[in-house]
């Protein structure tokens, strides 16, 4: 593949995240791979969690994540490949809610891009989560207002 053209794949949906391996052309094109996986915790702030329901404004979330990945590669000054998968709907304790895979020529850029993508995802992507506790109560978790970011527009 042409290493100068970033390859960015975004998927949001209810399917279980498979964490698929890089394709063979990606493996030969890039020497470094960095992944971030996020899972639903059994305990959050002392409360026993049954599952988490993820809500997303999918069209805008896809666009926001595409922009975040593109800018993360640009800021790191590297070519690369970024895959982001995020669950929607109910996700049980222990299951993956988010998976980010970054491939770049060298390790430093891979770490930096991966970190940037997950931090900006949490602050800028229109995704929300409602925790369902084992006692039957539910709570939408507090988040970050998009009023101040100005990076999605």
């Amino acid at each position: 593949m042409n290493q100068s053209t970033p390859r960015i794949e975004i998927h949001l949906g209810p399917e279980t995240i498979a964490q698929s391996a890089p394709s063979s052309d990606q493996e030969t094109g890039f020497g470094a791979s960095c992944e971030f996986t996020g899972r639903v915790r059994a305990i959050n702030f002392g409360r026993a969690v049954e599952c988490v329901h993820y809500d997303a404004f999918v069209p805008l979330a896809q666009k926001a994540l595409q922009k975040i990945a593109t800018e993360a590669l640009e800021e790191a000054g590297t070519s690369g490949s970024v895959r982001i998968e995020h669950r929607t709907g109910p996700v049980r304790v222990g299951e993956l809610s988010v998976w980010i895979q970054v491939l770049t020529p060298h390790r430093d850029e891979a770490f930096r891009v991966c970190r940037t993508v997950i931090e900006r995802l949490k602050h800028e992507a229109p995704i929300w989560k409602k925790e369902v506790y084992t006692d039957g109560e539910t709570e939408w978790l507090k988040g970050h207002s998009l009023c101040a970011t100005g990076r999605n527009s």
């Binding site: 996020g38 993820y54 809500d55 997303a56 404004f57 069209p59 805008l60 979330a61 666009k63 995020h86 809610s97 988010v98 997950i118 995802l121 949490k122 602050h123 800028e124 992507a125 229109p126 995704i127 929300w128 989560k129 409602k130 939408w140 978790l141 507090k142 988040g143 970050h144 207002s145 998009l146 009023c147 100005g150 999605n152 527009s153």
Partner: protein, 88 residues
């Protein structure tokens, strides 16, 4: 009347499909900030006072972009109101 889409914690104030009716004519041109003020007024009328802060922290968006408060928007079905986010 038009219907806007609610997400996240705002869903508790929406109908079963996640929509909320606003007394604005489709096709009218308002700023996103004006639309939020109308939304705030409707929340007060309908007794959603506990969620007024959530509205003030929310943004108006369409499928393509988030609208800043000063930006004009042609009112139409399906505009979205996005409360603070917390993915991951």
């Amino acid at each position: 009347m038009i219907r806007v889409r609610f997400f996240g914690a705002l869903r508790r104030c929406a109908d079963h499909d996640g929509f909320f009716e606003l007394p604005v004519d489709a096709g009218a041109i308002l700023s996103a900030g004006e639309l939020k003020r109308i939304l705030t007024s409707e929340f007060e009328k309908r007794g959603f006072r506990n969620d007024l802060a959530l509205v003030s922290e929310s943004v108006i968006a369409d499928d393509e972009t988030i609208l800043q408060d000063h930006e004009p928007v042609q009112v139409r079905e399906g505009l979205a109101v996005l409360p603070p986010v917390c993915g991951g």
